[in-house]
Amino acid sequence: MENQQGDSVGCSEVINSDFQLEFMDEEGVPTNTSCEQIKVESLIEKLFYVFLKKAEIDPEAPVLHRDLHLAYLKHSLCYLPHNFACLDASRAWLCYWITHSMELLDFKLPAEDKSHVAQFLAKCQCPDGGFGGGPGQYGHLAPTYAAVNALCTLGTEEAYKVIDRRKLLQFLWSLRKSNGSFELHVGGEIDVRGVYCAVSVARLTNIYSDALFDNSAEWIISCQTYEGGFSGSPGHEAHGGYAFCALAALCLLSKENLCDIKSLLRWTVNRQMRLEGGFQGRTNKLVDGCYSFWQAGAMPMIQGILSKNDESSVMTEIDSWLFNSRALQEYILIYCQSPNGGLIDKPGKTKDLYHTCYTLSGLSIAQNQPSKTTGSIVGSPRNLLKAVHPTFNIELEKLKSASLYFSQLPSDLL
């Protein structure tokens, strides 16, 4: 396993360490967890040698298949086959996953298409102010978050103007519980996604008020588990998706100091898989490309918090992410690209728009280190994606423009 080209070949993380050492050690106790893990590792090992062959011919490998991913995204924006009917209540999400992925890939969506997406999302907005998963559906916080993020990503005045901020604020109030948590829709379930989606859209559109989120930070903190991560609601298991929502919400509430940041850091870095390089969502679960964002995306926030309270400036002197950003890029580029475009959870799975969005978002985080040091991009330099703001998961420039637009509108609407 010679690494002839130094770091430019990529895969250096795996090549430099002894591959065999990183395999699951069952210690003579095979269980369902270890058997499933070993299956994934064998597949990764096989694909790794396939990749090495490819890298011998192509010094730029691994390459991000931009055109293939874009073709998949463009096609999906117009037409989805009948088996997408199970996502009929997630069409606002589909708009976000597609437009955000396109933005990261630096594709300029034609003005006409932007207008069509904005008009469609307007149809998803309910009389009560929230956005539904599709036209005529009840308002729900998750598609509301998705729609607002998609509209900000479109970045046109027409798109911004779709959002009825006064009604959106009423909608948020209608879902707030006295303990500071939010239900996802009227009569729906309560978990930490609710408060994250609520505070994210409130901050973005400049309708935030302290009263709306009274007790919310304390409720979120009650979801931090003994492992260090956060669960969906108090008592449950720490989980990457919920941990992201919890941490991002705390940051948006300016209450990030309430959480046990060192245990969150430890839990998060330990979710990165030693052989695969990608992240798992929970302790002893399998790698999944979507956690490239949910877990790695937490790191800029975690390191930001540590820097703020850094009397001894240990963190301030660190100019890279505390997870292994090269190993994560390798996982995404080598193992998560579907040959015909689109990205996947793990080898053997089929592509979908959710995984395309979140693997690309994670790739962007991994590439865009706090200080741009040489060699922070795995493979071809053309693999570089646009940078995202980790708290909202919106491309940086698009976030700036949207924030500027909404900051000029009155925040006191009630």
Partner: protein, 322 residues
């Protein structure tokens, strides 16, 4: 799921709502995607027909038996449609339906779609309405037998246990799962939940739990789940990570040549904790020098993937030198 349906959801024996006499009075409402639809799904004819009539019912706010049947067809076509579920609950309430039948239906739906938010939420609402959780432990046990880490199943189980005080046999249930798979992190989490909600962390409970988890760590020293549980428990004791009995255990394990990243990482954190409390113990396993050496071993040999993290922790340790 009645009848046989092909991949497109087309069904030989299916009668479209538009062809049903008993529905002739209701005006179907087509989906309004606007003039330029995006993310347009190529719905099957059946899907389109059912949802056109669902929108029709929703528009005139009809709360009837036939509307109830219609919502069943709709959620079977798309169990993720929270609007249909919410409307179905409104109808159930309005008609004062026998909820036992609905419980059987949602149990079927849970079996068919075990990772769907809406089916589990529907179940929770029904159990609340009935104020009867007598079937919940069995249902969740059945679902956990199929997937021992199903997050929704654990959530529902915890909710039922907490709301209806069903803690009695839960530790035995967990014990069984941990005997099946010592690496099942959900089961470890459930153990913490039960202790936290029942005996809490009285000194004798801490001792008992430490003895339990150490016996499990001995079996699989690289199992992060049990190490994390250990950390969770000792934080309730006055001496924290530095609890002497635990450090003795680690000492012995380390001296036997074990270099599990979990073990080394525990020792590093214990040393850091000791340093932060201002206690300096030279030449012990918890000295800063030893901890720096362990960080170095982790970064270069036993946990190479997390080298950046271990270098950061080394920096934190160095602050306490001198």
């Amino acid at each position: 799921m009645e009848g046989s349906s092909s991949e497109e959801g087309e069904d030989v024996n299916w009668t479209f709502y538009r062809d049903r006499e008993e529905w002739a009075d209701l005006k179907p409402v087509p989906q309004d995607d606007g003039p330029h639809p995006v993310v347009a799904i190529a719905y099957s004819e059946k899907f389109r027909d059912v949802f056109d009539y669902f929108r029709g019912v929703l528009k005139v706010h009809e709360l009837s038996e036939r509307a109830l049947d219609l919502t069943r067809d709709a959620v079977e076509l798309n169990p993720g449609n929270y609007t249909v579920w919410q409307y179905r609950r409104q109808i159930l309430k309005h008609l004062d339906k026998d909820l036992k039948e609905e419980m059987a239906f949602v149990a079927e739906m849970i079996s068919a779609f075990p990772k769907n938010y809406q089916v589990w939420h529907h179940r929770q609402v029904l159990v609340s309405w009935l104020n009867d959780a007598s079937d919940e432990l069995q249902l969740t046990a059945k679902m956990l037998a199929l997937d021992a880490k199903n997050y929704h199943a654990w959530q529902h189980r915890q909710w039922a246990i907490r709301t209806f005080n069903l803690f009695q046999n839960e530790l035995e249930f967990i014990e069984k799962l941990l005997n099946d798979d010592i690496r099942n992190n959900s089961a470890w989490n459930q153990r913490y939940f039960v202790i936290n909600q029942t005996t809490e962390f009285a000194p004798e409970v801490i001792e008992k739990e430490i003895a339990y988890v150490l016996s499990k760590i001995k079996i699989a020293t690289k199992n992060e789940s049990s190490w994390n549980y250990l950390r969770g428990i000792v934080l309730h004791s006055e001496s924290g990570l530095r609890k002497p009995s635990v450090i003795d255990f680690c000492d012995e394990l380390y001296n036997s040549g074990n270099r599990s990243a979990c073990l080394l990482s525990y020792l590093v954190d214990a040393a850091l904790e000791q340093a932060e409390y201002g206690v300096v113990k030279e030449n012990s396993l918890l000295s800063i020098d030893k901890a720096l050496e362990l960080c170095d071993n982790l970064a270069n040999e036993f946990d190479v993937c997390r080298r950046g993290y271990w270098n950061y922790i080394s920096g934190c340790l160095r602050v306490h030198m001198n």
